[in-house]
């Protein structure tokens, strides 16, 4: 253990920025914003302040790294709710990424979650084709009716409870979208960042995203050669595998033709916004990355800017429904987008928007967190569903694929799929305009 502790300390000194650690003045204002702190009876060791203190203590050699310290880092969702709560502007997201990178470098590979992570990151998310293959299998599995059979024989009972709920939450296979005739004119020209998960498992949402923008008169390009954003690599300390994705995207979108680069996944959007930060020391790509990050916008904000609210107001009510909205942590905490999705929902005829209590707290999806930390993710989801039930919506609207899957898992978990549905905001807005 002594050797590991030394290796980890050295790795922390190499990867974790001391100046960022010093930004934390330990006031504790972040505590109650942290889902793990709240769900573990106010456990300081699982709070943002605690984790930063642990990083510093490991780095300074004040303590020796051990499994208990690793556990505190592992349990962090990376939801970054602590950042808006922080009066000192601590860059917690960077710190936890650097910590995970330091651990990834220093620790020998082991454990189930490592296998999961390796499969997911080294292969699936780097090569979009690989992901398409997997998704192809998933769709085959769903279309073929095999899904019904496996559910019936209880194959999924072999897995932990959260995986079962996740399995039932897989999205339905895509349907084709009709050609769009613009209802407004706009001078906006944008490039669409498709996102690997959105472009495969949630393909229709992507099609509808483009359709909605075109309906508002926005000119949409979908540049070739774009790659997965690299967020999941970054969040798990494996930027070395994600680095090529960043370069590829920066190149693919580098054109003066675009006013904005739009995405429909909160998790991707936050990471794309931080390309500038990740490439700030790269003389070749620094400037391109800054341009790239500055042009990022989420679909809700762009739709509001393009005046889609006018179209929504005129639309015939397609249904009477109570809807609520679960924030995407990264869309809210990193990109600061709070009102635009709500503004869209509030302006849909026939739709009654009700604010979800604690909509700003993480649902427990957090990338692949629900796969590697099933117990905590389930506890967080249970609390989330209590809040959802207090509103009794017919639709839970989300703005990120991970949240969408997790909310669907929550609906399955609570056995309320007969009266509740989780949908992407693009889906909901599109349907409102296409009754």
């Amino acid at each position: 253990m002594a050797n590991i502790a030394q290796d980890v300390r050295a790795s922390f000194q190499e990867h974790v920025d001391e100046n960022l650690l010093m930004d934390c003045m330990r006031c504790g204002f972040c505590l109650t914003s942290c889902p793990t702190y709240v769900h573990l009876e106010s456990d300081e060791a699982n709070s943002p302040r605690g984790r930063i203190a642990l990083m510093k203590a490991v780095r300074d050699g004040f303590i020796d790294f051990d499994d208990s310290v690793k556990h505190s880092f592992d349990l962090c969702l990376g939801c970054r709710a602590c950042e808006p709560a922080c009066p000192a502007g601590v860059q917690y997201g960077s710190l936890i990424e650097q910590t995970r990178e330091a651990l990834h470098e220093a620790l020998p590979s082991k454990g189930v979650s490592k296998v999961v992570e390796n499969t997911v990151f080294k292969h699936l998310f780097v090569e979009q084709n690989n992901l398409s293959k997997v998704v192809g299998l998933v769709q085959f599995y769903q279309k073929s009716g095999l899904q019904k059979v496996t559910r019936k024989i209880g194959f999924m009972n072999l897995f932990p409870k959260n995986l079962q709920a996740m399995e039932r939450a897989l999205p339905a296979p895509p349907k084709k979208i009709d050609k769009v005739i613009p209802k407004k004119t706009s001078t906006l020209r944008v490039a669409f960042f498709a996102g690997c998960l959105m472009d495969t498992m949630f393909k229709t949402v992507n099609d509808k995203t483009i359709a909605l923008l075109e309906l508002a008169g926005v000119h949409v390009d979908v540049p070739d050669n774009q790659a997965c954003c690299g967020a999941l690599h970054g969040h798990t300390g494996q930027m070395e595998h994600g680095h090529q994705n960043l370069i590829q995207n920066v190149e693919a979108f580098d054109s003066d033709d675009y006013d904005y680069i739009v995405n429909n996944a909160g998790g991707c959007g936050a990471f794309l916004k931080e390309y500038a930060l990740h490439l700030k020391n790269d003389p070749t790509y620094r400037d391109k990355a800054a341009r790239f990050s500055n042009k990022q916008i989420d679909i809700s904000s762009l739709l509001v800017k393009a005046g889609i609210v006018d179209l929504l107001k005129e639309a015939h009510p397609t249904q009477q429904a109570v809807v609520t909205y679960q924030d995407s942590c990264h869309l809210r905490n990193v990109n600061g987008v709070i009102e635009p999705p709500r503004e869209l929902l509030k302006n849909i005829p026939g739709t009654t928007y009700v604010e979800l209590p604690r909509a700003n707290t993480c649902c427990g999806s957090a990338g692949i967190y629900n796969l590697v930390q099933p117990k905590m993710a389930d506890a967080i989801l249970a609390t989330k569903m209590e809040d959802v039930q207090s509103v009794s919506p017919q639709f839970i609207i989300t703005a990120n694929p991970g949240c969408l899957m997790q909310m669907r898992a929550g609906i399955e978990r609570e056995n309320v799929s007969d009266r509740m549905e989780a949908v992407h905001i693009v889906d909901y807005v599109y349907d409102a305009l296409h009754g």
């Binding site: 504790g28 204002f29 505590l31 456990d43 203190a53 642990l54 310290v69 556990h71």
Partner: protein
């Protein structure tokens, strides 16, 4: 710590509620005070008063120090372990025990978050006024033990003014109750007052009965800028002389304003010397009248700019500078030391002047903001704990600020408490006889010195050099 003793703690509170891993001990080795950190030996989370009593008895027997800790947001190293010991948490004791709308009291466990108490009573049209800046995360037990102040202190007083009664475990393990839901109670020594602000050195508070008042219906905000410190200070005095007690009367000095503007770019004019923020609450007519009068006084006293908020959104905007002051300052240097030297209101301008003299003398960066209405200033030292030479200068500067405040009839701490940090300076305020009296109380109640040792009483008092401020 011996396993047999740890087992006894586990027997009292349950295995799950004894923490001893590296990460858990590290997480309770600090609080919000810069440059103080020491590991505890164990962390325990009792469920009730009986368990706390059993813990105390075990600690007497084994001579183990107890450090009671809420959220660890205090600024005087009041909850940093001094020499090992057991950190005692209240995370399982965070409920409302009784809400009495007939007697206007609420009885809560010490682990409850202060802001949650405020929110709860406000839903019922009642008001718990003390509002330390950390209220969203601080526990009421911590507030009572530190006798915390806040922005509304001028009009509504501080924590002690709202504590009606307590239940506490004494350092001998016995449980006492003091006071009650009573507006009047003179039965014997006022032990409630003794325990409030005792920083966990005289016992462990286990339940708190708070006085509530009706929630004011209306609130209004305004600001004023001044090109001279004296004009701002005269405005404060004139407002009070006009028999107006505003709910808040906050002050920002030039350095703070400049830092805020650099941080936020909200268009503050940086060529001013001071800014005052006024707020009044109550019925609409009085509030309007008071805000008008205060703004007029500011103009008469030479304010270069004034503004009254027209609505809640504008009020929020006006309050931005004060709200982000600490954040903005924290950006300037790696380490921020927030002090709370306090002087009689009439000495406000002189105190700010003295702080600036000291800062120049030792070449340290000190910005000042704070509660002008009650003379409670926050000289904020911006430095770097890694620079030993600079830290030595900082220490000298802070000592002279304490001295300067005391010369003006002030105190070394207005609302943060003594803790370990200010302990070496306490005698400057109290004198030898004062310290001896406090020590006599401490020795009588806690003869084994197991309750939060190293706090309030210092091993050595700093030598006081009386400064000539000319």
């Amino acid at each position: 710590m011996k396993q047999s003793i740890i087992d006894q703690f586990a027997h009292i509170v349950g295995e799950k509620y004894v923490k001893q891993s590296t990460s858990e001990l590290l997480a309770y080795s600090y609080d919000a005070t810069a440059n103080f950190q020491r590991m505890p030996e164990l962390v325990v989370s009792p469920a009730d008063t009986a368990q706390i009593s059993a813990i105390v008895k075990l600690c007497i027997q084994e001579k183990i120090a107890i450090i009671p800790r809420g959220s660890g947001s205090n600024l005087a190293a009041g909850t940093v372990p001094y020499n090992g010991g057991v950190v005692l948490l209240f995370n399982r004791m965070n409920r409302i025990l009784d809400f009495d709308q007939d007697n206007l009291t609420i009885t809560v466990q010490p682990g409850m978050i202060t802001a949650n108490i405020c929110d709860y009573v406000e839903q019922h049209g009642l008001f718990y006024p003390p509002d330390p800046s950390s209220m969203k995360i601080s526990t009421i037990g911590g507030n009572v033990s530190e006798n915390s102040g806040g922005l509304r202190g001028l009009k509504y007083g501080v924590t002690k003014d709202y504590v009606r009664g307590l239940e506490a475990v004494l350092p001998n393990g016995e449980v006492i109750t003091t006071g009650g839901k009573l507006a009047k109670d003179v039965a014997g020594y006022d032990l409630t007052s003794l325990l409030v602000g005792a920083e966990g050195t005289l016992g462990i508070i286990t339940s708190i009965t708070l006085k509530l008042i009706p929630l004011p219906r209306f609130k209004k905000t305004s600001i004023a800028y001044f090109s001279s410190l004296e004009h701002a200070a005269e405005t404060v005095q004139e407002i009070i002389a006009n028999k107006i007690i505003p709910v808040t009367l906050e002050f920002l000095d030039k350095k703070t304003i400049v830092a805020v503007e650099q941080f936020m770019h909200i268009g503050l004019s940086t060529d001013v010397e001071a800014m005052l923020l006024f707020e009044q609450d109550g019925d609409e007519v009085t509030v309007d009248k008071d805000i008008m009068t205060m703004t007029t006084i500011a103009k008469e006293k030479g304010a270069t700019y004034t503004k009254i908020a027209e609505d809640e959104a504008q009020a929020l905007q006006l309050k931005t500078a004060r709200r982000v002051a600490l954040s903005a300052l924290s950006k300037l240097r790696p380490t921020l030391i927030l002090e709370d030297a306090t002087v009689p209101r009439s000495q406000l301008a002189e105190m700010v002047r003295r702080i600036n003299i000291v800062a120049d003398k030792y070449n340290v960066n000190i910005a000042t903001f704070g509660h002008a209405g009650d003379g409670n200033l926050h000289p904020t030292c911006l430095t770097d704990v890694r620079d030993e030479q600079e830290m030595a200068q900082v220490e000298k500067a802070l000592a002279e600020i304490f001295d300067g405040a005391l010369q003006l009839g002030g105190t070394i701490t207005g609302e943060h408490g003594v803790g370990e940090m200010k302990a070496p300076y306490l005698e400057w305020k109290l004198g030898e006889a004062g310290i001896a009296a406090m020590r006599a109380i401490k020795d009588a109640l806690d003869p084994h010195h197991i309750m939060n040792p190293g706090k309030i009483f210092a091993k050595d008092t700093k030598k006081r050099v009386v400064v000539q401020f000319g």
